[in-house]
Symmetry: C5
């Protein structure tokens, strides 16, 4: 599905003529570039466009198949950037990922979105209101998209940090709840997240290095800035990864601690109940000669003695934290 397209010259939008082919030939002859946005194109749709822009066949294969690894690859006449878009679904604390592919040539940029991508329309509106940036050519568009996508990464890393905080509170909180599943699933999310973002570091370094082929020199600091944001998200994710491993161990220690408490409670109960049972057993023996049994106040004395002993034990256990 074609979302939007236009010709940009010196940072300004020209939507006329409405025919894509004519726009392309205008861009080729008069300068400027065409920015075409596609959302989950069908094979036929994309092949037509690939023919219009004369893409490399492998680039075409990528655009339809999806499930690529983040990368930036240069084919003759066209460069392809593959980005993973990531979104945090509040409900269920899950990260869902989509994919954005950018095909960049001298006079065009084709942006293909798979999955619930970021609303790239915003990016277009933002850039159209910032003509001096747009005038720097199609790589300025790539930068704006990267910037948008990586901002989402930073949002996610913040959300993940919140989730880790919650898991921590579960681990060390007073309630008897198991946090191990939560920590494990977070670990899993973090690993997935890192796989989505870390492979982008190396191609972005390439784009941000001084003298990167095709990238206008004045855009280099912008890509460096974006790289910096990505590195920050990547650092944060690495930190959470390592932290969750420790959280899992802390959970084991905490669970064990609780078990120790239960264990001490049993010991205390065993001790508390065993004394009266034992004494009662003794006075239940059927010996002919057991003088205490004949005493008038034998019974209340024994029961009273047991109460005193039990009370003493109870307080002692309470004091030393066993009950």
């Amino acid at each position: 599905m074609i979302v939007d397209y236009a010709l940009y010259q010196n940072g300004h939008r020209f939507s006329e003529p409405t025919n894509l082919g004519e726009l392309i030939s205008m861009a080729r002859t008069e300068g400027g570039f065409v920015w075409l946005g596609l959302a989950e194109p069908t094979e036929a749709e994309f092949e037509k466009i690939a023919k219009d822009f004369q893409f490399h066949p492998l680039a075409v294969e990528d655009a339809i198949g999806a499930h690529q690894r983040p990368k930036f690859e240069e084919f003759p006449d066209v460069s392809v950037a593959v980005l993973k878009t990531a979104f945090y679904e509040e409900e269920g604390s899950l990260i869902s990922t989509g994919e954005i592919l950018c095909f960049i040539g001298d006079y065009f940029i084709v942006v293909v979105r798979h999955g619930n991508g970021a609303p790239l329309a915003n990016t277009r509106h933002y850039l159209e209101g910032y003509p001096e940036q747009l005038a720097k050519g199609p790589y300025a568009v790539l930068h704006a998209i990267l910037d948008h996508v990586i901002d989402c990464y930073i949002d996610i890393s913040v959300e993940l940090e919140n989730d880790v905080n919650q898991a921590e509170q579960k681990v060390f909180g007073a309630e008897r709840v198991s946090a191990s599943q939560e920590i494990y699933l977070l670990k899993r999310e973090v690993i997935e997240f890192r796989h989505a973002i870390d492979p982008l570091l190396s191609p972005l370094q390439q784009l941000a290095s001084i003298g990167a082929k095709n990238v206008p020199a004045e855009l280099t600091p912008f890509f460096r800035d974006t790289l910096d944001h990505l590195a920050r998200a990547s650092d944060a994710a690495a930190g959470l990864d390592s932290l969750l491993s420790s959280a899992l161990q802390a959970e084991i220690a905490q669970v064990q601690l609780q078990q120790n408490e239960d264990m001490r409670k049993i010991t205390a109960y065993v001790a508390l109940a065993s004394v009266p049972t034992m004494v009662a057993g003794i006075y239940g023996m059927n010996f002919d000669t057991m003088p205490e049994l004949r005493w008038k106040y034998g019974y209340p004395m024994v029961v009273g003695g047991l109460l005193i002993i039990s009370g003493y034990l109870y307080r002692k256990f309470k004091k030393s934290g066993w009950l």
Copy 2:
């Protein structure tokens, strides 16, 4: 065992003349290349072929011995690619590996298969229906084989992910089943899988780099694409590896949690049973003067009291999750 062979010129198959030697000399003089497929050749068989194609003696040793590490090595006049083929056996969730060796020269490619290799016949049929690719020479055949083998890797990484999912469900599920053996064996599988695929990354990077010796420039993007797939499988395997370590720790935490529950149950049982036993013991004492024993309704009162206390304790334990 010779599986199939033919001469390919400009992407088209010539099976005539049927004599291998003549095909080779045709390829050498008229251009094109011979594609020879062997399955678990005997020493004698392979040595004859090695003589026909004039292979380096170390290359020959490799082809018979098997148990190589994945690599791409250039000898004078012949390059050797060693690939590990991997298959997922649904039954038993085991990965079994075979080996494919490709001997590539200017005018030939000899493909040797050890173990239950991928049905390379399909690769041949696929390429024969795609003459413009086949016309790029023997490295196009190598690419097709690599592509096929690496697709299998991706399938396996998906299967392994499913297995990890199942193990997770065992760990966190309600049933009392031990998942540690399953996780451990998966860990083992993943480690083996990584050893099968990771050493291929570096030779494939070499093949995919611009200006790789012998590789036609037009094939470079194809090898890069294949490298990308391999990197994806490798990433996935690394993620599973790390995840399984956490799963093992989560399993420990879960097992311990279950123990805590059992522990609390014991404590509750001890408490429940100890009260009536103790009281009964007391009224079983043989004191002469125990007024309650003389009461008409002493017995039902005591039994009733015990029932009430036990019921109260039972509900209290039930409520606080101890029973």
Copy 3:
């Protein structure tokens, strides 16, 4: 908020004229450099200054937004250094971080502080009393600030080490206290601390390398010295990180050990109480013919026997450390 500014020529301060614009043009024409200190500037404030010094737009964006990663970046005409300042709050053992940004050009250094930064006024006073260093230009100021910030890192690493020592004493001490939360939170602090300081290693290496662009050769050994301090703090943090993982495992082992002791205590109690209860039960049986019951000293003999057995068991358990 502007904190202080002055023109420095040959290491000496000139605060006259008080007008910033005039100072700048003096620096530009007569040599020397302007050192301007800002604390949490408003957007308007900073934009004015950015215009005065003609900063690159991305550099401006950084200075207001904060939450940067430590880095050293060169834009045309201006270089930007981003530093994380870190402070140890004795109370709560927390590390709080601020940010210092330095904009360095041929004839100026603008220092922007976010958060509770280090009292950079001290740095200015220190350098003003050390004119031969100040005469080396704005990079000497950058060095002095770096030195100050990194000295704080070393202080923190020492404080963290003390905290780890305290946690250790909790783990191995005689008291029954859980150290897992403390260790976990320390781990978290250390990870945060490492993320604050480690990214600075690479830009500082760049500044310290012989022949770094813009950095006067005579300052190179100073930057190397600073790098050395940073590397020391980084090493110490890495060591603590690894140590805390082991501490968490040691805590698990210690908690378990305590549980074993409790377990042995239960076993001992069970054994101690079970003997008299059993014997009393036997002599409480109602058989017609139980000769012992008729003996005159049967009762004291049995009670005496039980006391002896219990005493023997008690001493045996005590001896073998079970009670």
Copy 4:
């Protein structure tokens, strides 16, 4: 102790003249090389030889002292290769290591063996039966020795794998045996083994790289092949290392699981025994009015009831896996 020596020219052995000095001067003047084998030479013995061949003093120090790290080092006129030989002692599953030092010059190779080295005599016999290889000079001998030593590594890695398999069976087997010591000792073995073989990777890479100084070009593929074998052994050891860490954790989980079973058994016993004891206690009370006690069939009814309840509980516990 001198084991054997001879002059080799064009791959053929000349043991005459028997005088070592004359052989050396023949090699120096007429071509070919002297291959001298020593086993644990005394200081005096080796110093004489070092003088004959004019070794560098540091090289001499190495040869006597032993306990070197695997390396390949080039001194003027002589290169030294230090190899760790490793053997698997079936009994006790221990790896014992020796050392082989090779001193290689243009016209000689001196091989010094410390510890129970591999029977290098076999290597000599093998090479003497393979003159075209021996004709490639002293580096061909080095290759043959390396090949032999590394084949031993591969054997050991296979043995270690078997040991890991056995430890696994202990961990997950039905018998109650502790596998943690076995796993730990294996871990120790694997770490030692890795320290013996991994440092060899880098010098061997150097020997295997195209254009390595002194190494004849025709030997390069042979060294590459050997490097490949070493990399395989190194990979296998790394895999076992990682696997053993998981095995240790799995052991913890398994031990805990067994404890859970014991715990459940206790709970079941407590429940089973507590019911009849409690009921018997109640009917042992001495109340005057306990109508059941007067019933003719009270006793068999109660005993029967207890049997039924106990049987019911027993079957229930059996069913739910608690007994």
Copy 5:
């Protein structure tokens, strides 16, 4: 405090004239070098010497402040080597570290010792008895000091290995002793040790590389040899580090195993004591009609029966390892 100084020319010592200043000017004019040894110099002392030799101000700062990271740094006219000396205190198994700083110029080497350094006097005596080495200039002295310091590292790594062996015996030994604290403290020692020695690897590699600035070519193999020793100590420490992590886990498994045994013992005791208690309870019931109670041999039969059952259970538990 000045320990010793002398002028060395062609490897021979000249202690006359005794005036340091004159010695220095002799070295400057006539060749040779001055070797000055200082132990914990005061600020005034060192500043005087720094002026005599014209050291770089940063180098001076280092020499007084101590607490440096191991490094080798080249200032104009002077190179500084910082070494950590490490000693193993048998008592308490602690490693204490000192520091040695070497200032090396064309005609001098100044060696400053902080903390309980190695007795460098031995190094001087050793070298004075080895003039051909001493004749190679001040770097030969640096090498001798390095060699001495690194030999101490190797001694320590051996001592640490012994400590690890002892901890192992505690973990797997029959006695009930906790090894977790010992292992943890060893881990700590090893981490500190690694921080003391690993940073030296990179500067030493620099000194050992062919063509290192200032280092005479004939000394290169000596530095390589020293590097080799350091690498060995570093490898050993890394191995111990990894081993101790496993030891901590093995300790957890062992502690748990012991708990399992205690648990089984409880279960056995519960079972043993519950049978007679239950039976006795039943025959203690007060039913009017309990025929067994009337039997003449009822009592001995029951007691005998209980003895048989208890004996049977005891033997069964003993056999299956529960008691």
